[in-house]
């Protein structure tokens, strides 16, 4: 029998970032066929802890790292597979990202891209996972201090939570989509600790307007809002590389001042719509329904420009 490969009619750039696997995201994000994986699945660098819990392992431990090109620029990239254990950080998973960031100091790429899709630390190997989070944040500051931008892309089904949210806070630029969520404690965690009256995790509209991409962009926690396509993330990531500010005392002090002003200004707000209203949005209730074009136009009309405070 003569088998012929089926040609996909849709461009990979038009595919949903949210629905795509980590490998598909990397393949579409970077220039065609330029991605070269480090420690690929055939090396079987798998979690040493999961068998103790009778849990299945993944060949790449849910973290894919390597190098490639973005619009001709050499970049290093890491992608989390959110469907494997919620994209959670374990020992190998974290160590691969630490190693990639340390390699950046040696190879000096134009940028390091982190494709977040994580619920935080993997509880079955929590000590190793927490240590990895700390090592990753330290490595990111070292990479940024060397003048290499570290850019986070958030649009996966697991969102970017827990330690992943902390790591995202150390990135110089963040791109987020409507479906991407960015926070530390997730909806279920808040509800478990504080009750459903504090935060009803089943209220999806509440979750999205509190942690979703539009809110994070309006608040200045994310720097670009992208459509949920691989092509939109590619364009936003490419635009973010030259836009990255320097990592110096002046920038950090300005960020600290903005964060202090933010809590003073919005600390008593009971809902994200109140914050949007104080930012100058005339019709806050209409924000979740806006298209990307409409949302970008709204951002342009607001009195405050973009800033670097997470």
């Amino acid at each position: 029998m003569d088998w012929k490969p089926v040609a996909l009619s849709a461009s990979p750039l038009a595919q949903s970032w949210y629905e795509a696997s980590a490998r598909a995201r990397l393949a579409g994000l970077l220039d065609t066929d330029t991605f070269e994986e480090f420690i690929g699945p055939e090396q079987r660098m798998m979690s040493p802890h999961l068998p103790l819990f009778a849990l299945p392992r993944a060949f790449d431990d849910g973290m894919i790292v390597g190098r490639g090109r973005l619009d001709g620029r050499d970049v290093l990239a890491a992608a989390q597979e959110g469907r494997f254990m919620g994209g959670a950080f374990g020992e190998i998973h974290g160590a691969k990202l630490v190693g990639l960031l340390r390699a950046a100091l040696a190879v000096k790429p134009a940028a390091v891209l982190i494709l977040f899709d994580t619920g935080g630390v993997r509880l079955q190997e929590a000590n190793a996972g927490e240590t990895a989070i700390a090592e990753i944040m330290r490595a990111i500051t070292q990479v940024r201090a060397a003048g290499i931008p570290v850019i986070g892309l958030i649009g996966g089904r697991a969102g970017c939570y827990g330690g992943g949210g902390l790591i995202a806070g150390t990135c110089v630029r963040l791109v987020i989509s409507e479906g991407g969520r960015l926070s530390v404690s997730g909806p279920e965690v808040i509800e478990t600790n504080k009750g459903a009256e504090e935060f009803d995790s089943r209220d999806r509209a509440l979750v999205w307007r509190t942690m979703g991409g539009k809110h994070r962009r309006l608040l200045g926690a994310a720097d670009a809002f992208a459509d949920d396509t691989i092509g939109a993330f590619r364009a936003a990531a490419s635009a973010a590389i030259p836009a990255a500010p320097a990592f110096d005392l002046e920038t950090l002090e300005a960020e600290q001042a903005r964060l202090a002003a933010r809590i003073a200004r919005f600390g008593d707000a009971r809902d994200a719509t109140e914050i949007w209203s104080r930012l100058g949005v005339n019709d806050p209730d209409a924000v979740p329904g806006l298209t990307t074009e409409g949302f970008d136009a709204l951002l342009d009309s607001l009195p405050e420009g973009s800033h670097d405070a997470r």
Binding site: W3, E42, P56, R57, F59, E81, F84
Partner: protein, 103 residues
Amino acid sequence: METLRFRHATTRPLPGTRPSAITGVVASGNLEVLLERNLPPDACHVEIDTAINGYAEVWAAVVADFVARRQPGGLTITINDGGARPDTVSLRLAQGARLMELP
């Protein structure tokens, strides 16, 4: 956890020259399949790590059916299973074989 190993003889090698391919993810009801071209052209080995115990006969039947249909000679196929149903397993094996045949 249960580890299953199957060894099959094939009548011909799987076409193509790719050294390896991977498809699928380890998630509930899903699995990942790693295919490597590292055996003699008339042999195919399959090793499965599954979280669900007691389905060795079903796995044997699904793997035998795949080998009979595709004749994946030369391949070592390693599977991490998150509790996939037999039809999903068949689909992933077919996807993996197709990836190995791509130019």
